[in-house]
Symmetry: D2
Amino acid sequence: MSERPLNVGLIGGGGGAFIVQPHQRAIHFDGTRRVTVAALHPDPEVAQAEAAAWEYPLKGYDSYDDLIKQEAAKPLGERIDYALIVTPNHVHFDPAIKCVQAGIPVFCEKPLTLNIDEAKQLVDAVKEKNVPFAVSHTYLGHWTSRFARFIVKSGLLGDVRWVDSYYLQGWLAARTEDSGNAQAEWRVDPKKSGASLCGGDIGTHALMQLRYVTGLDVTRVQAHLETFVGGRSLDDHFTTYVELSNGGRGLVRASQIAIGHKNDLGIEINGTKGSLVWRQEFPEELTIRLPDQPDRTYFRGSVSANDGFLKDLPEELMAEPNIPPGHPEAFHDAFARLHRCFEQDVRAYNDGKPFECDGSKYANIDDGYMGMAFIQASVKSSQEGNVWVNMDC
Amino acid sequence: MSERPLNVGLIGGGGGAFIVQPHQRAIHFDGTRRVTVAALHPDPEVAQAEAAAWEYPLKGYDSYDDLIKQEAAKPLGERIDYALIVTPNHVHFDPAIKCVQAGIPVFCEKPLTLNIDEAKQLVDAVKEKNVPFAVSHTYLGHWTSRFARFIVKSGLLGDVRWVDSYYLQGWLAARTEDSGNAQAEWRVDPKKSGASLCGGDIGTHALMQLRYVTGLDVTRVQAHLETFVGGRSLDDHFTTYVELSNGGRGLVRASQIAIGHKNDLGIEINGTKGSLVWRQEFPEELTIRLPDQPDRTYFRGSVSANDGFLKDLPEELMAEPNIPPGHPEAFHDAFARLHRCFEQDVRAYNDGKPFECDGSKYANIDDGYMGMAFIQASVKSSQEGNVWVNMDC
Amino acid sequence: MSERPLNVGLIGGGGGAFIVQPHQRAIHFDGTRRVTVAALHPDPEVAQAEAAAWEYPLKGYDSYDDLIKQEAAKPLGERIDYALIVTPNHVHFDPAIKCVQAGIPVFCEKPLTLNIDEAKQLVDAVKEKNVPFAVSHTYLGHWTSRFARFIVKSGLLGDVRWVDSYYLQGWLAARTEDSGNAQAEWRVDPKKSGASLCGGDIGTHALMQLRYVTGLDVTRVQAHLETFVGGRSLDDHFTTYVELSNGGRGLVRASQIAIGHKNDLGIEINGTKGSLVWRQEFPEELTIRLPDQPDRTYFRGSVSANDGFLKDLPEELMAEPNIPPGHPEAFHDAFARLHRCFEQDVRAYNDGKPFECDGSKYANIDDGYMGMAFIQASVKSSQEGNVWVNMDC
Amino acid sequence: MSERPLNVGLIGGGGGAFIVQPHQRAIHFDGTRRVTVAALHPDPEVAQAEAAAWEYPLKGYDSYDDLIKQEAAKPLGERIDYALIVTPNHVHFDPAIKCVQAGIPVFCEKPLTLNIDEAKQLVDAVKEKNVPFAVSHTYLGHWTSRFARFIVKSGLLGDVRWVDSYYLQGWLAARTEDSGNAQAEWRVDPKKSGASLCGGDIGTHALMQLRYVTGLDVTRVQAHLETFVGGRSLDDHFTTYVELSNGGRGLVRASQIAIGHKNDLGIEINGTKGSLVWRQEFPEELTIRLPDQPDRTYFRGSVSANDGFLKDLPEELMAEPNIPPGHPEAFHDAFARLHRCFEQDVRAYNDGKPFECDGSKYANIDDGYMGMAFIQASVKSSQEGNVWVNMDC
């Protein structure tokens, strides 16, 4: 029997914000989730006006406090099943912890919070209430990210020696913040963005991709936060040399001044037995390089368990609702896969089952916390002369 | 003020059909359209069982006849706003013409009908009733297809001399029809597929891409329909040398036995002043080649009207709801763009405005007809010894 | 013991001709061959002046007649060991047959002669005298061309169904012949170029690549010779649909009006078991596509006999003097490989051994003849309304 | 008037050494240089036996001491015009300084010497005697390297902010030194290789590419020399974060354990106005990325001074003896360009003109010294805990 679509509430997203658009498409993608309510803006009048003019009917709230309070009071089936938090970084913590305390599952944009102290409180709250909580690391949602994780885990590459995880953009190469770009404005402001601009915004994605695909943690960092564009107080270029929990090494690096790079997240892994290369801008492909073999480029949808190299390819991975190869998936498909997985956990939660999340389907609260710890350690390293700093500093 | 979402009815799509999935995602994508009813299968019991088990709640009809009759009887706002026809080729005509006669807009899979006679009747009906009608040529929906069309029209490439439009797949290189693949089974059957397998299924896409991007018609063809896999009565490989309405020449070619090609639709245009290259599997890119210039590779989202080469870039093109460059769009985004454009025409139709469609937003009934004429001329050419045959043969 | 370097005589090559430069580099490449004499120009004064100003010391002859007569009269070791003919097409036959009759081995530019009658005479002369004779189909000299030929022969791709062999350039898209380009001037002149410009100049390369890699012959053609640039009497665009000797089909196509294509020779083969893709502009790579396998991209120098797919990889192929992978080979390396192989046959001939050439190392006189037959059949097909014409018409 | 070819003497190169082969091809490439003598091996008997069996006639010397002494005693025109030193690293200094002192120009493999002290002595000797001296940084010889240098100098990219210069290989990912690979054996031996394996062998190339293309010096380094393969005493993976002389920053990094990378030298430059990307394995291409422009990919041979972006393109650069675009140049072409430029300086030296070399044509003795200083600073940084170390430490 068909089940009713889940109801989602937006917190933030007004004012022409970019990231709320792909989230909505991902929510609606499967027909099994829908946005029903929203607190779009800190100003109640703006919030209501935007809600009334939204592309589809939506109940507008004056504030996220109202939204949380009133929704939590409704019975299951009428209330929202989860909240999506797409506010600037400094307004993640407050609505997130309030949702959690009200028992409302949360899908939260990254970085998790403004600083590590907020992150700690939030981790504690989530664990205490055991409410489904996802951090929006979109790129885990690519089928090829899942496949890369499987390949490393399968041992095909041997032990990981070296990882180069990078995220390069060019959109802040000039003073974009002076040209009326709202996102640029708040991102360069330490009060809204946190202690690191480039590291916080996109370096955390590069870290997450490394951690997700390799299954390894970063234990120490030696960081260089650079500010190339005059008049900024935060980094617009970010490089860390890292130690991994298995003794391997790597680079986690990011840039917002690399003109010509649009959204160039990628990872290369060199193991004792082989290498793996993946780039987000070409998300249908993944190349494996093994000694004595030509380059092996896999395409989503045409991976075969019978190729003689992939052992015990999980049925679950292959069964993912997919379109055939050559009908490319991309950004919205990845986003939708995250919301689809979160939906399953929310439905189980609605049924009274305990929430369990090992981070294999989407980034969880621990992943969010590690992102904040990484920023804190990197900022400290850079400020103290690019010295080595432990992640639990 | 927000408007109610449009209601869409599915005709066909049960039994694990592939193409109904991307259509549903595209319909739901924006939150402004939703599937509400369906006649999923020719067997009423199956139709009802599948509807009851659908991923989201859906009213099931016993048959498309029932669906059309009952929906047409409902008032606007309650009835479906348009029907999506995703049945095999031989079941396009009947539901399509019945919808049209009932005043229900239609979004129909290609090829338009089983043969040219059906196509002629359908064209007449659509023109008489003036009901919104779209043919599902997905790949027009890529932003880069729109951009390619603009570039040719702008004169940047001069006059079109030569076009190579191709669509290469490998999924029928072996006897896929014997392995339980339902789509392969009906596609190799002339009663369900029509007079051409490869030409009808994908050659028509290559033709449409040529016609859409260049704005030219094919006037004559010299065709080779080959059957490489034993036991088939239809072509699995298709090549036409064509004359264009401006005196240019080209190839429109397709294959289903090209192992390794997944869904490789592409086009290259050589004009008197420059060339253009585009491939569907990398739908974010488009390369222009001009004398005295290096290769110029544009990426969706980072095209600038100030590059000194693009004159009078339409605001409408640039304003399309988009995600930033590097957050790649792909198959579902193209599909969604078609439904989004069709939605606009359906809303106008609901408001009593006359339907006008010049084919610039999605393929219209005339485009569907040209596809059928192309198949007929190609089959005739091939059967008569690969001679030249006029399109209006 | 080291052997003396072979002596090579140039016939043609003065006046800034392009192709004589890479030939000289290829001759000198290994230190085992050197250019010693030359008849550079039809005008004796020019010929002597150019010889005197040559980049390195060179004995200049007034004419190729003088060169052939005087060199043939010298004892082995002092005379030239072979002649390189790099004149325009209409001056291939005369020096070539005179060399052959004088017992001087010949390395001749393609197309072999101006027309099929000359070609027949030359074939007869070469077979009667049994003198080493090579036709300069450069691209066979790429290691990856050799590798491609091995792969087809090994059966890895099954039976060849379809071949697309193409050679695309853009340098004649405008009236280059009016801008002082000497090569363009003679190439557009039927008296110097022969019955086909585009087909003769580069279509023959595409044909040769098909024949060399697949080991198949073309048996019938249906051709379209187009002239897109006004004022020309010869084709600048050339497309043939061909039948192969095993019953397969293919395209052999060429263009000189495809702006942006520099020297884009490439081939794709679709067999019953797999496909192969190769492009001359990226001559270090070759991609194999097999069902159930990801794309397998081989790089020259890192091919392993232990990859589980390559059976009985010939030692000879692997032993070729090579630089390690990633130190790319390119045009001059291919050219040098041809001269290196020809050197071996010339040394054997000098030692009195009978000349045997199966076309596996470089194009032989039969290959040259097939090129001329292909041009003749294609021209006839095109002139008679694009009808089917047998190769032995 | 033609001039006699220059005579070149080989020092080292016996025993199947890799690098002597491309050098010989590069020397012979143009017909204006030739190898005439050689001291191929430290063992006189081996040296003579190898010389006698060389691919072409060659005078063999018992030792490089003999070669230098006896050649220096011959008159100009009979003696060697320059020596090529292709011994292992620890045998660079002695023959190099002896040649210099004997007035014989030297083309020397990199790294210049075994350590910085030797390098200093050699610099002094070269400057005192003012003898032509080249260090074999092959990759400067690519036309696209020259073009990249021009582009940076022209100001098209603005000021250099960030450079990522890398050189990745995988051939030492396993214990290659145990498998009979002679090059691997000496490279892992500190007595023959110097204080850094990976940094010395290929990190110096990455440094040189950075210095050559940007015209900037590295002033400080923070280095990580890693040894991933057990049983080695030297680094097989090398990463430095560097400060540039204009205040910019960058990475100079290298690996020999990156399985699948063959010879992957590349550079990316991010300036205030644009970016540049180049890779050695695709040496015909160079991509420029500017705001408001699509990616601009230049191909050697089809660069036009009229493209509106390249100001004052030097005639000298465009006049370089080249083959047309699409007839790709590669490794040997780059090597030949270096020897061709060195030939010009040697001919001038032979004519008694003072030797002047600004490093724009090939790497000079100062470049060689900077490579040694870079290794020394990097080793020190890594040993002292990855601290910042000045280049003139």
